[in-house]
Symmetry: C2
Amino acid sequence: MLVRINTAPRKPVDGQLAVLAGERMFCSEFRYRRGSEIFGEGEEPEYVYQIISGAVRTYKLLPDGRRQINAFHLPGDMFGFENETTHRFTAEAIVETNVHLMRRTSILETVRYGGAGTKDLIRFVTQNLQHAESHMLLLGRKTSLERVTAFLLEMDERLQRPDVMILPMNRRDIADYLGLTLETVSRALSILRDEGLLRFDGNTQRRLELVDRGALARIDA
Amino acid sequence: MLVRINTAPRKPVDGQLAVLAGERMFCSEFRYRRGSEIFGEGEEPEYVYQIISGAVRTYKLLPDGRRQINAFHLPGDMFGFENETTHRFTAEAIVETNVHLMRRTSILETVRYGGAGTKDLIRFVTQNLQHAESHMLLLGRKTSLERVTAFLLEMDERLQRPDVMILPMNRRDIADYLGLTLETVSRALSILRDEGLLRFDGNTQRRLELVDRGALARIDA
DNA sequence: ATTCTTGTTTGATCTCGATCAATAAGCCGT
DNA sequence: ACGGCTTATTGATCGAGATCAAACAAGAAT
């Protein structure tokens, strides 16, 4: 029997960025090592990025080091667009990551001249906003078990429900995304495992299999 | 000595909506009673709103009634724009509220035909996103005292630092905005009062005066 | 004024998730 | 394979904020 795992990107990678800027736009490629910074909060935005392979986290820090991850970006996803003169958060490669990048000014020109990409740009920003709004509900009002379950279902969907899900991020990243500690994330995963809703696959804790998506969906209020 | 309070709107109310749609656009007026719903989550979006006077809360609910308020809207603010076919949250008047409203389709047409309002629309959505991103940091990582302080400073700024700030929303609204309970909000306010950073003005708890904005800013990490 | 309702504060106690701590399990390079 | 390092799990304890509860204050209606 064939087991689908999410090692290879499953979304078409050509889409959004090209649409946004018009097909003939120059689009170079770049590779970031695991853990390296792609851009920092407060820096001037030069490029817009689309992930070819790998994974990226974007986050904000408080002065004392507390971290809130806004979003994880997976193959096919765009990130880094700014309307202002500074980046509002930091972006880092979670694993070795290949991206397409394109000058931000190219995209702004598209908008200025009423290009076809304008609607897509509005849709892109709106989708980010939509994600942020549901994440506020999670952060403000959900329990730890609900948060972890919501995270699993979000990743499951974005990876197109693979049989075995390979998470690129560690427990601390998940915790900083969900407003929890890594211990609480680990405990919640253990509970879900003990109740038979998911399985850790083989001998590594980053591969997991959602056994009962229905029951998980019922937990995520 | 003249004491500035925020009973009257201080921002020009003409701005955004008119710019967005073009000056000649038809723009009617409407009044909502205290507590009444302006639109509900899941409904089809018909209008975009700009507040003339009053205040509005927008929120999401979980099935069991837990509520997360995304944002408060004050005189001059626009809200209710949707790119999708349904509203992503509910909007209610907090107090008696007068709005300008304009058909959503008019605004979408402006974008379709590459109107001057397109850039403003992108800026509008981006500002919402920006607010949501910093609110995620608050909800995920700040303490109750930091949250309440951040709320006070946010309102202070949006009301243009009046000498006496009149909050239109009650403690429960503030709590549901900050991911806390109303008791915790009340306790935090009492702490700030006891430490001399703010005063309750006269005999009502909704009027307050920020005595030491510097100290408040230092608390809000 | 008086009553009713709604909103706010304050206190007592509880609980969920944080913190502290130890162990275990992978991963990587040699 | 081995050792060194990072990541994850699990247990014990703590504490910030929730919950439960009561008293109090402020409007609004009569």
